[in-house]
C-alpha cells in the first residue's frame, strides 16, 4: 500500500530500495507552532519514505526544522497536518497513551546528552523500555545483559552513569535504544558531546547496526558524520532541499 506513495517521495534511487519494506513514511507533514496569536509554520509539507535498513542523515542549518521533524519521527510531537505512518500504523491521530506505547515499542532514541537516568545503574537503564512494555523481569534481565555485552559494557552493568565516560554512557544509551528491537533508531547528534575517538567508536557501532539491517535516522550538523550514512536528507526552511543516496 505504501509503495504507491513512492511518487510523493523525493529522488530516492528506486533501484536501491526496490523490494525493501517501507518502515516509516511522512506524508505532507506540516507543523505550526502557536505562540499566543502568532502562528509559525516550521515544516511546510514534508514527504519522505524510510526503508528497512536505511541509514539516513538529516542535515540542515539551525532553524531548518530538523528538531521538529525528529520530534515528529519520534512520536514525541504530532504534525499539524499530514500523516505519519510508522510500520502500518498512522500515528498522526493517536491518543497520548497510544503514542507512548508506540514510542516504547517501535522506536529507539539516542540523544546528544545520553539522557541516562542517574539513579539507575547501566543494567537498569537498559531495562527501562522493556519495563514499560511489560516484559517479565527474567526476560528484561537477559535482554539487557546481552545488549550490555554487545556494546562492550558487560563488566560495568552495576555502574551508575556518572561513573562512566561519555563514550561509555552513549554506548549504554545505544543498548537501551536496541532493547525493544525497534523499527527505527533515532539519533540526535549522537557524537555531539564526545571527543573524536569516542565519537568514532559510536559511529563504528552505528555501522555495525546498519550492517545488521537496522534502520537508523540520524540528525547532524556534521558532514563528516553524514559521510558514514548512505542517504542524505537536507532540509532548508522547513522543506526537503535534497535527498541523495550514495554508497560509502
Amino acid at each position: 500500500m505504501l509503495e504507491t506513495n513512492l511518487s510523493t517521495s523525493t529522488n530516492s534511487d528506486s533501484a536501491v530500495t526496490a523490494g525493501r519494506e517501507v518502515v516509516a513514511s511522512l506524508d505532507a507533514i506540516r507543523k505550526t507552532y502557536f505562540m499566543g496569536a502568532l502562528a509559525v509554520e516550521v515544516l511546510h509539507g514534508i514527504s519522505l519514505d524510510f526503508y528497512q535498513g536505511d541509514y539516513i542523515s538529516i542535515m540542515g542549518p539551525s532553524g531548518c526544522g530538523k528538531s521538529t521533524l525528529m520530534n515528529i519521527l519520534g512520536c514525541l510531537d504530532q504534525p499539524t497536518e499530514g500523516n505519519y505512518f510508522l510500520g502500518d500504523e498512522d500515528t498522526s491521530k493517536m491518543e497520548d497513551d497510544e503514542l507512548s506505547t508506540i514510542r516504547g515499542a517501535r522506536l529507539g532514541f539516542i540523544f546528544q546528552s545520553y539522557n541516562l537516568i542517574q539513579q539507575l545503574n547501566v543494567l537498569e537503564n537498559i531495562e527501562m523500555p522493556l519495563f514499560y512494555q511489560g516484559y517479565s523481569e527474567a526476560d528484561s534481565h537477559e535482554i539487557a545483559m546481552g545488549l550490555a555485552a554487545r556494546v562492550g559494557l558487560q563488566d560495568r552493568v552495576d555502574h551508575k552513569p556518572f561513573e562512566l565516560s561519555g563514550g561509555q554512557q552513549q554506548r549504554v544509551a545505544i543498548a537501551r535504544a536496541l532493547a525493544v528491537d525497534p523499527l527505527i533508531i533515532l539519533a540526535d547528534e549522537p557524537t555531539g558531546n564526545l571527543d573524536s575517538k569516542s565519537g568514532a567508536e559510536i559511529l563504528n557501532l552505528f555501522d555495525e547496526l546498519h550492517d545488521q539491517g537496522k534502520t537508523l535516522i540520524m540528525v547532524t550538523h556534521s558532514d563528516e558524520l553524514a559521510e558514514r550514512s548512505q542517504r542524505w536528507v537536507r532540509l532548508r526552511d522547513g522543506l526537503v532541499e535534497s535527498d541523495d543516496r550514495h554508497n560509502p
Partner: protein, 453 residues
C-alpha cells in the same frame, strides 16, 4: 580498548520474549516503581526526612494525646465510679467570709457554727422519696498514737455502711457493727497508710491505739485505694483522704464533741460542726442528678451562708466524659492541623522533585512511559514519604505515652485504633497531596521535558 565490536547478531534475538499485556494491576510494575521511589527518596535523605517531619509530629501527637486523654478519662471515670454512681455527697464547708476574717487575725475570739446538721438530713429524708440510706460522718483531725509512734490523721466517725457506700473494701479484719455503734464502743478501723505508719512491723489487728486519752481497739484495715480527691477543703480535713481512720459515729460525738478549738494569731477560735460529710444513697441511679438538684434547693433554703458543698459523682462522671470528648476533639484538631501542614510539606517537596526531575520524566516518556505510569511513580513516592513519616510517627506516638507514664505516673492508654487510624490518615495525606504534583509531572510535554536542563 581501541575498537568496539558488536557481538555477532543473534544475541539480539527477542524470540520467545514477549511483552506481558500490561492491562490492569501489575505487581512487578508496582514493585519496580516503588523501588525507584525509594531510591529517589534515599538519594535526598535529609530533605526527605525534613519533609516527613510534619507527618511524624502529627501522627505522634495524635496518638500520644489520645493516649493521655484516654488515660485521664479512664482515671476520672474510675474515681467517680468508686464514689458511687448512685450517691450524692454532701460536705460541710467553712463559709468564705468567716474564713476571711479568721485569717486576718483581728477581732475578738470567734465561735463559728456552720455546716450540715442532722436536721438537714432529716429534712432531706422527709421531703425526697427514694433515698435508700444516708451515711453521715464527722471528721476530726487528731494525733493518733501507738506507744511512741504517732500520726496526724482524720478521725472519721461514721456509720456501719460507710465501706459499702463507697465501694471501699477491707484488707483485713472487719468494720464496726451496729451494736458497737449503739455502745459508743472504742473500736477503730485504720486505713492502710495509717496502719503502716503506726504498726511498721507487727499486725495491728487486736492492738490498741490512743487518741487523746482514750484507747481504741483496732478491728480492721481498709484497702488503700478508693478515696476521692474531691472535697479536700472540707472542714477539719486538710490532708489528703487516704490518711484516715474510722470509728463509730456515736463514739466520735461523745469523745470529741461537736466543737473544736484552736489557737490562732488573734486568739482562740472555736468551730462547731455537727456533720462534716453525708453520703446520700439513691435507690434509682437514673434520678440521681435531679435528686441532687432538689437537695441543693432544700439546703439553699435552710442555710443562710453557703457552708456546704454538694457533689453528684454521676454528674461529675458525665462532665468528665464530656471533657474527655472535648480533649479528643482538641487533640484531633491539633493532629489534623499538623497533618495538613505535613501534607503541604509533602506537596511542596514533590513539586520541587517534579521540577528537578523534568528531564527524567521526559526520558521516561520517550522510552514508552504513559501518563499514568508517571502519575503512579510520583504518587507512590509521595505515599512512601508520608507512609514512612506515619510509621516513625506511630513508633514515637506509642513510645511517648510510655515515657509520660514512667516519668509523671499518669495513666495513658494507647488504644489499637489510634495508631491504625493515624497511619491510614498519613498515607491518605500522601495520596491527596501527591495527586497534584503527579498530574503536573504527567502533563509535561515530552519534548519540553527532554529539552529541560
Amino acid at each position: 580498548m581501541t575498537d568496539i565490536t558488536l557481538n555477532p547478531p543473534g544475541s539480539e534475538s527477542h524470540a520467545g520474549k514477549r511483552p506481558v499485556l500490561n492491562s490492569g494491576f501489575n505487581f512487578l510494575r508496582f514493585r519496580k516503581i516503588t523501588e525507584v521511589g525509594i531510591k529517589s527518596i534515599h538519594s535526598h535523605g535529609l530533605r526527605s526526612l525534613l519533609t516527613v517531619l510534619g507527618i511524624v509530629i502529627g501522627v505522634a501527637a495524635v496518638i500520644a494525646m489520645l493516649a493521655v486523654s484516654e488515660g485521664a478519662s479512664f482515671e476520672a471515670q474510675q474515681q467517680f465510679r468508686d464514689l458511687g454512681a448512685s450517691n450524692i455527697l454532701l460536705k460541710s464547708v467553712k463559709p468564705a467570709e468567716v474564713e476571711e476574717s479568721s485569717r486576718s487575725g483581728f477581732g475578738p475570739p470567734q465561735a463559728i457554727v456552720y455546716g450540715l446538721t442532722v436536721a438537714d438530713i432529716t429534712a432531706i429524708r422527709n421531703s425526697i422519696p427514694g433515698i435508700s440510706n444516708v451515711i453521715s460522718s464527722r471528721i476530726v483531725k487528731k494525733n493518733v498514737w501507738n506507744g511512741g509512734l504517732n500520726m496526724n490523721t482524720d478521725v472519721v466517725g461514721t456509720s456501719v455502711y460507710y465501706p459499702v457506700s463507697r465501694n471501699y473494701n477491707l484488707r483485713a479484719g472487719r468494720f464496726f457493727s451496729e451494736s458497737e455503734m449503739r455502745d459508743h464502743a472504742n473500736v477503730v478501723v485504720l486505713s492502710d497508710e495509717v496502719a503502716q505508719g503506726l504498726f511498721p512491723i507487727d499486725n495491728p489487728l487486736g492492738k490498741s491505739i490512743r487518741i487523746d486519752s482514750d484507747y481504741y481497739n483496732v478491728i480492721g484495715i481498709m484497702e488503700s485505694e478508693g478515696f476521692s480527691n474531691l472535697g479536700q477543703n472540707q472542714a477539719g480535713s486538710s490532708n489528703s483522704a487516704p490518711s484516715r481512720i474510722f470509728i463509730p459515729f456515736t463514739s466520735s460525738k461523745s469523745r470529741f464533741g461537736e466543737t473544736t478549738t484552736r489557737q490562732t494569731a488573734g486568739g482562740v477560735e472555736s468551730e462547731t460542726v455537727e456533720l462534716h460529710e453525708a453520703i446520700i444513697q439513691i435507690e434509682n441511679q437514673d434520678g440521681v442528678i435531679e435528686v441532687g438538684e432538689i437537695i441543693d434547693s432544700i439546703l439553699e433554703r435552710r442555710h443562710k451562708d453557703i457552708d456546704y458543698a454538694i457533689e453528684v459523682p454521676l454528674a461529675l462522671l458525665r462532665q468528665a466524659e464530656e471533657s474527655a470528648l472535648r480533649d479528643q476533639i482538641v487533640a484531633g484538631a491539633i493532629a489534623g492541623i499538623s497533618l495538613l501542614v505535613g501534607g503541604i510539606g509533602i506537596m511542596n517537596i514533590m513539586l520541587a522533585s517534579v521540577t528537578e526531575r523534568t528531564r527524567e520524566i521526559g526520558i521516561r516518556r520517550a522510552l514508552g512511559a504513559k501518563r499514568r505510569d508517571i502519575i503512579m511513580q510520583f504518587l507512590i513516592e509521595a505515599v512512601i514519604l508520608s507512609g514512612v513519616g506515619g510509621l516513625i510517627g506511630v513508633v514515637l506516638g506509642i513510645a511517648i505515652p510510655f515515657i509520660i507514664s514512667a516519668f509523671w505516673g499518669m495513666t495513658t492508654i494507647v488504644t489499637p485504633l489510634a495508631p491504625i487510624l493515624a497511619f491510614s490518615i498519613s498515607a491518605l495525606i500522601g495520596v491527596i497531596f501527591g495527586i497534584y504534583p503527579s498530574i503536573r509531572a504527567a502533563d509535561m510535554d515530552p519534548v519540553e521535558a527532554l529539552r529541560h536542563e
